[in-house]
């Protein structure tokens, strides 16, 4: 358990396991989440038309039919948005024009192309299929390294390259250190795309106010509110004219609800054009394909070290993949971690090369861990590899290079000022309480039996409260000088005491379930000596009425270090004021007054006391009783900032965060050779996050972080095919661990070294396992199976192939059948080949195939087929398998006609369910009693069908091919008896099952 070591002061609420005040509302189903708020009568509901293509030019958009649909009040495209907006800016100058909706090109599957605003959501969705968009598909690129090649298709013509930024950083003397070191080890890691997909999706209600020319928006945006400025600039209004409010409750975010701001801009303009408020609740398919993901990354990392294990330098080149657009504050994650490029180790020299790459995938955003999982995966993997190369125990090597307890505050070479810690103690406690020796014995026993068992370790410095200036590290020194300094991180809090003496707290932390109301009440109640219940905390925000700063919001573990400091500061001010008032009545100096149990009493004479509420009341009811010059009422605002958060230095060093915790994990994992499944035998995790404010909440953050990190390690990935097709479109594809899969980590009770830089000594706690768990498990698997190249998620099929050699070949007899009906959706396209025997002459079959009327009867679901030219047909097909059906416009061209031998076919199908483009070849070979019709094709599928139906697509294709050939036989050889049954029947016949 966490926090037992940091003994709570009996008299204080802080440090105690106070039950959450939030629960009273939430457990009754009385929460007010975005979709629960009442909206004005006449509010319209938005639905988005989204790109089925990973990359295409928009030739035209015709919304006229959609506008005629029942309930539709407006249909808005990128061109409609353009006059009311400016591009959404990012942290450095670049010519990308991004406004939250496609302008003349689409660059990823799921990108908004048009918005229907209708009287309800059902009708808005109804109209989507009536919007006609003509696209000219372009080649797509999904790999960040390949995207940097000269011949890669370029996403943003105005930028000219997919590598939108490249910076080389040298801290210390890495070159010399590499030259002087005995040995070097290099690995390449690939960190996948994932996110923590909060249960509540984005929700926005936007209204335009023609009377003021401003916008009024309510949304579950999470901050940082620096982005408010980005929105206001984009909407071309002064900041005060963009009123943003947040609802009382938010159903999780984990970073995701930062990059919803482009939607706020789009919907604001929609509301303006529609002349009514517009509401949009993102649905899960939209969320998975096009909200926010962590950047995937490829890192080449090299360590230089001596034979004794001293690591002298690191060199790493990152290819950070941000998808199709940069949205502020992207590419922040990689820069947020910059100061910590050497993690918890005393490595004096480091070279870092950051490539920021654009690819045809969903744009990135914040995800819990924010750049840490990617960085630490590289560092902790290379350290494990160094240990292996040296034949050393990994933990031993890690310990040898750890920052020492007496070195804090420790200035890391890339600039982090690591405030405090005792890493050795954490490691010792963890080894001890987690039973490392026993685990090693289990490993040895398992290995003796020939089982695959490994132990993994991982350490991480956990940064909290970001320096608002770190993103400027992306710029060169000269650019920074031109732009002026950026630094700090302000938190604000307002505390009032009302005429009856109860206390209200308003903060700027926009929580999503972390229990901030509870914690702030603990802090303020302690400071003012009032019962916990007397403090009411309201964390809804309103940018027109509340205090906020650019740093406001909930991200990068900001709350524990900063928001609490602001609350404590504001509460102190309230206390000071009340002490002055009370001192006047009680005739004692204010320093003598003690605030306790709802009373203000003189320490020198406890009998001399006044009730807290009376003193509070006086400030309202009797201004004349107040000390001279004192303002009436009690409402204190504190803006708190940390002076340690200085701007990037001329040498590109940056103290990226304020307070730095520490996490250490180890685990034992067994790999099942037969199934590739992992069994996590034990997982041990330890965190020193400074002062624990509420152990119940702290444990919840650790466990929650662990569960999502476990998901990232074993299940979660946004998968794209190399042609840009998106495959993880549903919660049945993007898998999240449930209570059945989640395991419980052993939580270690260890030191809590308070931060000297935060008011309560607290540091962040919510992200630690994001950093350690994926690489800890990867290290364990590497140890178990003796493999260097480990990628997460560790899916059974992948792990199986790592531990097993070549597949057993097919027996001789079976090999012959293989030519038949092969359909494969493993590469970039759906590819098929096969053949069918038709008891008719080649001439007959050819005639059937070339006759549009015949083809209309053969193509499954063909409604019409018109001959545009001898070799060009267009038509409409309603196609699908089982209940899944879509209507598509078909465009088919025949080429290389060699009557009656062979023909090439190219074509496309376009419909609401998606689009496909393909090419194929049909060959006829005459034989005894008929012709063998052979075919081969490859089809690129895109859009809904591919993203939600991946599991069934090859089977569905086979079903359609079967239908086609059965119909062909019927038409070309009407006399022939139908064989019936198709592939399955033939398959079973071959297998000797019942006929």
């Amino acid at each position: 358990m966490v926090g037992a070591a940091a003994h709570a002061d009996e008299d204080k609420y802080v440090g105690r396991r106070m039950l959450r005040v939030e629960d009273q509302t939430l457990l009754r189903g009385r929460g007010k989440f975005m979709d629960d708020l009442p909206v004005a009568k006449g509010t319209l509901h938005a639905a988005f038309l989204r790109s089925p293509h990973p990359h295409a030019r928009i030739v035209s958009i015709d919304v006229s039919e959609a506008l005629k649909q029942k309930g539709v009040k407006a249909v808005v495209t990128g061109e409609d948005i353009r006059p009311y907006t400016k591009p959404l800016i990012v942290g450095f100058e670049n010519p990308m024009d991004y406004r939250g909706i496609a302008l003349n090109k689409v660059r990823y599957v799921g990108e908004p192309v048009a918005v229907v605003c209708a009287t309800d959501r059902y009708r808005a969705e109804d109209a989507l299929k009536y919007i006609r968009v003509e696209y000219e598909p372009l080649a797509a690129i999904v790999d960040p390294v390949a995207a940097c090649a000269d011949d890669a298709p370029v996403l943003h013509d105005e930028v000219g390259s997919n590598r939108v930024s490249r910076r080389v950083f040298t801290h210390g003397e890495p070159e010399a250190a590499f030259a002087a070191s005995d040995r070097q080890t290099e690995i390449t890691i690939r960190y996948p795309r994932n996110s923590i997909t909060p249960m509540e999706t984005y929700g926005i209600v936007a209204e335009y106010q023609p009377d003021t020319g401003g916008y009024d928006v309510t949304s579950n945006f999470q901050g940082p509110f620096s982005v408010h400025a980005v929105m206001a600039i984009a909407l071309k209004v002064p900041g005060a004219k963009l009123r943003h409010r947040s609802p009382p409750n938010s159903g999780g975010s984990f970073g995701a609800k930062l990059t919803m701001f482009p939607y706020i801009v789009v919907l604001s303009v929609c509301a303006r054009l529609a002349g009514r408020p517009v509401k949009w609740i993102e649905d899960r398919l939209e969320h998975l394909s096009s909200s926010s993901v962590a950047p995937n990354r490829v890192t080449r990392i090299r360590a230089a070290y001596d034979a004794d294990g001293t690591i002298n330098a690191l060199r790493m080149e990152h290819f950070d993949d941000h998808g199709a657009y940069l949205r502020a504050p992207m590419p922040a994650p990689i820069y947020r971690m910059h100061g910590l490029s050497t993690n918890c180790y005393r490595i004096p020299n480091v070279e870092v090369i950051n490539n920021i790459c654009m690819t045809n995938k969903c744009p990135t955003g914040a995800v819990r861990g924010f750049g840490g999982p990617q960085l630490y995966f590289a560092i902790e993997r290379v350290i494990a590899q160094v240990a292996k190369d040296l034949g050393r125990d990994p933990l031993d090597l890690m310990r040898q290079n750890l920052i020492q307890a007496d070195q804090f505050p420790y200035r890391a070479p890339a600039g982090a000022l690591i405030d405090s810690g005792n890493y050795q103690q954490v490691v010792a406690d963890t080894v001890d309480q987690g039973g490392l020796e026993e685990l090693k014995a289990r490993r040895d026993a398992a290995r003796a039996e020939g089982r695959l068992y490994g132990i993994g370790y991982a350490m991480a410095v956990e940064p909290s409260q970001s320096n608002m200036g770190y993103i400027s590290t992306l710029k060169t020194k000269e650019e920074r000088e031109k732009a002026g300094p950026k630094d700090g991180a302000v938190a604000s809090c307002t505390i009032s005491v009302d005429p009856l003496g109860s206390v209200s707290v308003v903060g700027d932390s926009t929580p999503q379930g972390q229990g901030h109301q509870t914690t702030l009440a603990q802090i303020v109640a302690d400071e003012l000596g009032v019962p916990f219940e007397m403090v009411t905390v309201n964390l809804e925000t309103d940018t027109q009425k509340d205090n906020w700063s650019i740093a406001a919001g909930n991200y990068s573990c900001r709350f524990s270090p900063a928001s609490t400091s602001a609350a404590k500061t504001a509460a102190e001010r309230v206390r000071r004021k009340m002490a002055l008032i009370a001192s006047r009545f009680m005739n004692v100096p204010p320093e003598d007054l003690l605030f306790k149990d709802g009373w203000i009493a003189a320490q020198s004479n406890p009998e001399n006391r006044m009730e807290f509420r009376r003193v509070g009341g006086l400030a309202h009811w009797s201004p004349s009783s107040l000390p001279e010059g004192m303002d009436p009422g009690i409402r204190e605002v504190a803006y708190w900032n940390a002076p340690e958060l200085t701007p990037t230095t001329a040498k590109d060093e940056i103290n990226t965060s304020l307070a730095y915790g520490f996490a250490f994990d180890f685990c034992g994992v067994e790999v099942d050779r037969d199934t590739g499944e992992l069994r996590i035998d034990r997982y041990v995790t330890a965190h020193d996050c400074g002062t624990i404010l509420n152990p119940g909440l702290a444990e919840g953050q650790i466990r929650g972080s662990f569960a999502s990190a476990l998901g990232a390690s074993l299940y979660e990935e946004f998968v794209y095919k190399s042609d840009g097709t998106f495959l993880s479109g549903t919660f049945a594809d993007y898998l999240i661990a449930t209570a059945h899969e989640a395991i419980d980590p052993v939580m270690v009770d260890t030191v809590a070294t308070p931060s000297p830089f935060t008011r309560l000594g607290a540091k962040g706690i919510a992200e630690g396992n994001q950093y350690t768990t994926p690489v800890c498990l990867a290290n364990a698997v590497a140890d178990a199976i003796g493999r260097q190249d480990i990628t997460v998620p560790l899916t059974p099929a992948k792990v199986f192939e790592w531990v097993n050699g070549e597949e057993e070949p097919a027996p001789q007899a079976a090999a012959e059948d293989e030519a038949e009906d092969l359909i494969d959706y493993s590469g970039d396209a759906l590819r098929g080949q096969g053949s069918t025997f038709v008891p008719a002459s080649a001439e007959q079959v050819w005639q059937t195939l070339m006759d549009p009327a015949e083809m209309a009867a053969i193509i499954p679901g063909c409604k019409s087929l018109d001959k545009q030219a001898d070799d060009h047909f267009t038509g409409v097909v309603s196609m699908g398998v089982g209940p899944v059906k879509g209507t598509f416009e078909a465009d088919i061209r025949l080429e290389n006609l060699k009557k009656p031998r062979s023909a090439d076919i190219t074509g496309s199908l376009i419909g609401a369910l998606g689009t496909s483009r393909g090419r194929g070849r049909v060959t006829l070979v005459e034989g005894e009693g008929g012709v063998t019709v052979s075919y081969e094709y490859s089809i690129h599928l895109s859009g809904t069908v591919a993203s939600v139906g991946g599991r069934l697509l090859s089977g569905a294709a086979r079903a359609l091919v079967n239908q086609f050939f059965r119909a062909l036989v019927r038409r070309a050889a009407p006399e022939a008896k139908s064989e019936g049954g198709g592939l399955m029947r033939r398959l079973r016949a071959r297998l000797g099952g019942k006929k």
Binding site: L19, R20, E22, D23, T25, L26, L27, R28, G29, R30, G31, F33, D35, D36, K70, Y122, I196, T197, P198, M199, E200, T201, N249, S250, G251, G252, F254, D283, R284, L285, Q512, G513, Q514, G515, G696, L697, E699, G700, I702, R703, G704, S705, F706, A707, S708, T730, F731, A732, I736, T738, A739, H740, A742, D744
Partner: protein
């Protein structure tokens, strides 16, 4: 045989937490939308609308079901229970709510109504459950915040076959 026509709304009535309620729904209106936006019982949440996450779980005729995979019209005449009906008549928490509160078994609370309704349908059986049984019973409910340990402990406090530390 009754045919409800597309585009026209018909009356749907059922018992919600012991009280008769009614409202108007199109044939295609989802029960989840009907509860939330027509009846105003917004405690039931929606997080995927394709049956995977369990956030929308309600109890229909004593059985936990997904309200996003049911049409409002199919609820006609049924007996439905939702999160709003859990607390006692004096507004105090029932045992499950209380256990969730004491165990820190919720954070954002978005998944919580679905989880409570799933567990509350188990509670009706009067059986006691082992931890693996509880975990299996919750395999259709996703929580993104908690890591589940606290939820499982809270469930075991009320439904479990043993006392949990």
């Amino acid at each position: 045989m009754k045919i409800l026509k597309d585009g026209s709304k018909t009356q749907v009535s059922f018992t919600l937490n012991g009280t008769e309620v009614d409202g108007y729904a199109e044939p295609r209106t989802l029960l989840s939308d009907f509860l939330r936006h027509e009846i105003g019982a917004s405690g039931t949440h929606v997080a995927c609308e394709h049956g995977v996450c369990g956030a929308c779980t309600v109890v229909v005729d004593g059985k936990a079901v997904r309200s996003c995979l049911m049409l409002a019209a199919q609820a006609e005449g049924k007996e439905i229970r939702t999160i709003e009906g859990l607390a006692a008549s004096d507004d105090s928490f029932n045992k499950l709510q209380d256990a969730f509160h004491k165990r820190f078994a919720l954070q954002c609370g978005f998944c919580t109504p679905g989880i409570l309704m799933t567990l509350s349908s188990l509670q009706d059986s009067g059986r006691r459950y082992t931890e693996p049984e509880i975990r299996e019973a919750l395999s259709g409910n996703i929580c993104r915040c908690t890591g589940y340990r606290e939820i499982v402990d809270a469930a075991l406090d009320v439904l479990g076959d043993r006392v949990v530390a």
